[in-house]
């Protein structure tokens, strides 16, 4: 099922859903004529989009709003914080081309602080699906949940089938003890391939797809830190405020520590290029990740 099909099905079942966009229609090009009374395009107006979504939510609607992740989370940040966050309204904020997915656009379009700033808002939860299958499994629960949610939209072709989704529960692949790889969003694919590379070299790996950085699956993180020699965090996000920070918060809250190897953007925007070249240039391919992990393990 595609995103567009899912949304159409939801609206046909439940008139409360509103599809709203500030002229970003990539996810549902064919949909507007089919959902006339549940579709609003506000033009290139992220602030008004969020404010109006709050108004719709006050009327009992569940607005699902769309724009590029950077402009949505940053141009409209104070509207999300003030109208959706303080109001604790069930607005679903879908950010397109987050992280590395903005590939050739350049720094203006790079949403690589979005997880940090969205999770910092009280009431607002965050869902970062690994790929299209993960997103389709998660969205029905995320959309029907009464809380506001930020979603890192991701239709990457899946490398594996995902398990059933629960908000606040990570998905674990394998039970290795040498290294735990924690990842969310698009980079799950590289992490999944890195797992195979490492296992071929005799390293035992557990791969943890975080799914919802907020609420985070604290028990799964603690168990990984307890049982594995090395914990790796992988994210197409600034090092500040994302998964590395979330892990640090969880460990500190529980008076624990761990050997942690972070893969993140170290206070820099990434080199704009085609996606695969971005990964290579910035050191986020499966092979590059595997080599660094081997080195950290002293192998």
């Amino acid at each position: 099922m595609t995103y567009s099909e899912l949304v159409l099905e939801l609206i046909n079942k439940d008139d409360r859903y509103m599809i709203m966009t500030s002229e970003n229609r990539a996810a549902f090009r064919n949909l507007p004529p089919l959902i006339k009374n549940n579709f609003i395009d506000t033009g290139i107006t992220e602030q008004t989009l969020i404010g109006m979504a709050a108004g719709f939510a006050l009327r009992g609607r569940i607005p699902i709003v769309h724009a590029l992740a950077t402009f949505l989370t940053m141009r409209a940040f104070e509207f999300i914080r003030t109208d959706v966050g303080i109001g604790n309204l069930p607005v679903k904020i879908v950010g397109a081309v987050p992280g590395f997915l903005s590939d050739g656009n350049g720094p203006t379009h790079q949403a690589i602080e979005d997880v940090s700033i969205m999770r910092g808002i009280p009431h607002v939860n965050v869902f970062c699906p690994a790929d299209e299958d993960d997103m389709m499994k998660g969205l029905p629960k995320v959309f029907s949940d009464p809380t506001p949610f930020y979603i890192r939209y991701n239709t990457t072709t899946p490398l594996t089938e995902h398990s059933n989704f629960e908000i606040g529960k990570a998905e674990t692949f394998g039970n290795g003890k040498d290294v735990a790889i924690l990842v969310y969003g698009f980079l799950f694919g590289e992490a999944f391939k890195a797992k195979s590379i490492l296992e071929a070299k005799g390293i035992s790996v557990r791969l943890i797809n975080i799914r919802t950085p907020k609420p985070v699956d604290e028990q799964t993180l603690l168990k990984a830190a307890d049982e594995c020699n090395l914990v790796v965090t992988i994210e197409d996000h600034f090092i500040t405020g994302g998964l590395y920070t979330i892990l640090a918060e969880v460990l500190l809250r529980n008076r624990k520590t761990a050997n942690v190897l972070p893969f993140a953007l170290m206070n820099k925007w990434f080199k704009p290029a085609l996606l695969n070249d971005v990964l290579e240039y910035e050191g986020f391919t499966a092979e590059q990740i595997a080599v660094k992990i081997m080195s950290a393990l002293g192998k």
Binding site: I40, Q47, T48, G51, A53, R59, F79, I86, G87
Partner: protein, 285 residues
């Protein structure tokens, strides 16, 4: 408007202004803007809006948004006079045991949405107005905005969208008191010709004396002013209206008066004596 009705509105507004003055001590409030929009809010709630505790949850009720949230004492004072809020609760102003502070909070019955950050409630009201239209309901949606608030780009952005969606169930009332926080609007970021700006954004603006109930009634009763257009009332008002000792003064925007000053100001409101104010000028934002 009958003489009785006019007298009743004027008496209510007088009482609301007394509440505002009483809220201007013990931590203070934004008195200037509260006094400028008092007559507007009193008129809307008593004569125009179909909203009361009986229909607070009814989706067919009318909606009111105070986008310039810092003049909330005028709103709470009106709620007291309508019998929606116990007068004693105003004494909880700035106390941790209640929700009454310098900006509106939804825990107070009648408040549709919080405000305080300027430039927000117009887009929220657009969402409500558009939803009413989509559901083919005839609610009226009214937003009171500040003239200073019109500095915010989000106001004009929302107007573009409201105009595109032909939200003629939306009324915007500008409390045109000619002041923003510290300065007169025309001395900082000039707004005039304001009516032309609204016209250019697809609205139908009418300018009216915002303290004259008869003129307000004559204008507001024409709503919607034009089919498919947003009705805009530019309400010419006076900052600090009713208290000559603080009227039109940039330095009496936010005040924290002493008890004896409050007593003097209440007498001044009733034309009994002029107030002699010694409290230091406070400029807050």
């Amino acid at each position: 408007m009958t003489k009785e009705k006019l007298n009743e509105l004027q008496q209510t507004a007088l009482k609301v202004r007394e509440h505002i003055i009483r809220m201007s001590g013990n931590g203070g409030c934004f008195i200037g803007a509260s006094l400028s929009c008092t007559d507007l809010i009193v008129y809307l709630y008593k004569e125009f809006l179909n909203v009361s505790p009986k229909n607070f949850k009814d989706p067919n009720r009318d909606y009111f948004f105070l986008s310039k949230g810092h003049d909330v004492p005028a709103l709470y004072g009106t709620y007291v006079e309508l019998g929606w809020l116990e007068e004693d609760r105003l004494k909880n102003h700035l106390q941790t045991n209640d929700f009454i502070y310098w900006h509106p909070n939804r825990n107070i019955p009648g408040i549709e949405f919080h405000s305080g950050s300027l430039g927000h409630n117009l887009s929220v009201a657009c969402g409500v107005a558009l939803d009413c239209k989509l559901r083919k309901q005839n609610n009226k949606v009214v937003v009171v905005v500040g003239d200073g608030e019109l500095n915010e780009g989000s106001m004009w952005e929302a107007l573009l969208v409201a105009s595109a969606y032909k939200l003629d169930n939306l009324m915007i009332i500008v409390d045109r008191n000619h002041f923003q926080a510290n300065l007169m609007t025309e001395d900082l970021i000039p707004l005039d010709p304001l009516d032309k700006k609204f016209e250019a954004f697809g609205c139908c603006p009418i300018t009216v004396d915002g303290h004259n109930f008869e003129m307000l009634e004559e204008t507001i009763s024409k709503f919607p002013f034009e089919e498919n257009k947003i009705s805009v009332i530019i309400a010419e008002t006076v900052r600090g209206k009713g208290l000559p000792s603080i009227e039109k003064r940039a330095d009496r925007w936010f005040v924290n008066f002493k008890e004896d000053e409050i007593q003097q100001l209440i007498k001044e409101l009733h034309g009994e004596q002029s107030a002699y104010l010694t409290s230091e000028t406070i400029i807050a934002r």
